[in-house]
Symmetry: D3
Subunit: 175 residues, 6 copies
């Protein structure tokens, strides 16, 4: 049985993330999705709590035909020590065979400890990008085409658009 | 859909824990098992990493006929601030309706924030007790009857008995 | 007896803050002023220590005819975990009935735990604003009309203007 | 105007503490009472939250004829770095001229940074002692004569005896 | 025997730093070089680990004729509490007589605790500047003339240029 | 060039430690001595600051004919996360080829990350033992034969015996 670790902040989980999970599940038996900056929420850069991100991703993956037997959702709070963070994460997830990431920092630090890494080639990273999506929401632009439809539904169910606009002060520049 | 939070250290997961999970699943749809002191491992009081505890519990629950659709395994590292810890945990797990615990400290702090609590009446807590089990392992006494057989198997597979005896310095007093 | 919590960084305490305290004291018996980022000082964003901010606010409030029986000054260092911070603060201040803030993030996180919140409509927030005041000091513009006169006196007594210009590197662009 | 710092855990505030505050106020204009381990509560060693300890001490001091103009109550959470703690505390309280303590560790670390210290000769420390008082409560022995009557009242008002017996597991050895 | 403390991040160690060490060693017997933000590495602002910075500086100083009897290299991780940081550092280095820095924040906080400080007049700080050097590397500009030749060699030996370009995303704007 | 890491608390540095350093230097070119719990000092379990421990060890090693070219003294504060601690330490010391320790916990956690470990067979660990030595000092028993003479001198020069007796409350049981 082979498992892969896939860390991210998922603010929010978008179509690029979904593609990665699908791809990893073609090569591994299980994917361990690590939800980073898990202690955050209700800020402009991290509007959603880990609780919400877990529910959001679980909803997407199950709606896309994946069983909970194939993925794990593990929240990891920040410790702000990147080299310590590598083994910190590994000690708190089911054993994995490799770490997959599109973030060069993450790949580099796991290379540094000699752990197997997979450098992901992200699909259209300038669009499928959390920062871009949050900015579009802030600016009142279209954003739902960038996320799986279940994410759009979930965000609406928790008034997430209003939340982002409020904590980012988007409305301040508009009215 | 109703969920309940069940926090513990599970060093190791024993028959008392299994009974609690079974009981909670008769009353709730899903149980969120929080693995506390998740940053620990290879010490006398916390011999097993969160990684191992996740695998151990998953193995027990599945072997006892439960589907991963019924339980969540969420590691939470210590922050050593009990009142802050209450909402820290709630912000990192899928939404729950109540917290169940046999630990009066845990029940009290969730009462303090006004969250619904369930005080568990533990079954034979002087035997089904992590501290007691670790001490029995240390002293070379019988311990396997206190844990589900999958836990005994798992601990053997990782040489857990030898590990406990070594990091607790058990052998030092014996030879 | 009814108390309200009023958190802020107060870098420095300005006329907008004073108005809020006066207003809250018309509705509550006591106001608990929480001085956030209390561990900071001598940086560009947090030039004043909590020690200085306590003295500064105490001086203003007493000079404006308020008795120490009406207000509490409680420093709270950052923990960088917003959802945990809610109960962290509540556990360290005298019991309060509500939290008042003009900061949507603060209001949202206390709403999230089900605590009573009061969303303050700030008076002229684009002028009565710590960031704006520090920038005006940095740029050598007039700023004393934005703070109570005791704050201006206090800042002078500790050479605060020179401090801000130095740690923000304001002089670097001037000479 | 001269101020003195007086740090302690005050679990609970007892007659020995009250004597110290009275003595210090004969020599200084104001006493800054630092409530240490402020992040704690509902544990056997730290049964009362900082919130409760603030209220308890304020109630005692006012009932004993002291005005809030004479004392400050400042909660300070643990950072577990004793030499850093010295300046950490000083940066978060109104300026003080000296630190007074009966705890040799506290006196030593402030001596180490060259700050003026006052080594208190405690009055009957084997009886007027938080650990002793909590143990007496746990064991069902008389304890109220060791604390000011307002502390006894306050503890009763929050069911503090039952709390201590529960979180310390006292009842377990009794029934 | 007289020692001086010289804190910095040294990302990387440049010719301005070398001049300071040489100057301090003309006035003191030993210099204690504190490598700040020691927990960092492989990020855009802190590309080099403390491990690498220790090796890099040791290599430069020895190559420039200094003996290890004259300098200490001490890594100090961030605690993000500036006033506590002052004594935190002093408690972890061999005793020093003064702190030397070109950073006004550092000078100010040590002044605050009453420790002797030396305000360094930096040599050409707009060029001999870590931020500037990292930016030049990122932009593909010449940078080696700004650092001692051993630093340039060391950075090459660990593929540091490629690392900076990757974790800062420099290449993203180039291709 | 081959280096080995040797972590310990060194409260105080005793003859067993010196033997280990001498032995390691017969097999390696340099030894990196990591001074753990570096943030501590003036407590019963950690009476000496890292500053003092650095000076004490440096004095012993030089007096025993070792050059600073052969050893490094690196203080590391606790992070209370053992699996993260492994790479935390490695990222802050000059590159090493192996970790040597007589502590099974330390050996086990470095084994866990796949780093080369050397399990030291300690010489007479029931006597050459920091806990034992501090207890002997507390109880007024002979202890100087257990430490290198320079350590005894150093401890005397800082009034270390009196310090231990005071912060451990040894005198309380004696008078």
């Amino acid at each position: 049985m082979r498992r892969v670790l896939y860390p991210g902040r998922f603010q929010p989980f978008h179509k690029g993330h979904l593609r990665v999970v699908e791809k990893l599940l073609r090569e591994f038996d299980e994917v361990v999705i690590v939800i980073g900056s898990a202690q955050e929420g209700f800020t402009c850069n991290n509007p959603f709590t880990a609780s919400e991100r877990i529910e959001m991703i679980d909803y997407v993956l199950r709606s896309n035909g994946m069983s909970r037997d194939k993925y794990w959702l593990i929240p990891i709070p920040d410790i702000r020590m990147p080299l310590a963070w590598t083994t910190y994460v590994l000690s708190m997830v089911p054993r994995v065979d490799a770490v997959a990431s599109g973030n060069p920092h993450v790949v580099r630090i796991y290379d540094w400890i000699g752990f197997k890494t997979i450098k992901l080639n992200l699909f259209n990273p300038s669009e499928y990008n959390g920062t871009v999506i949050r900015r579009r929401i802030c600016n009142g632009l279209e954003w739902k085409h960038l996320v799986p439809e279940q994410v759009a539904q979930y965000i609406e169910s928790i008034n997430g658009v209003e939340r982002i606009r409020e904590v980012c002060g988007c409305g301040d520049h508009r009215d």
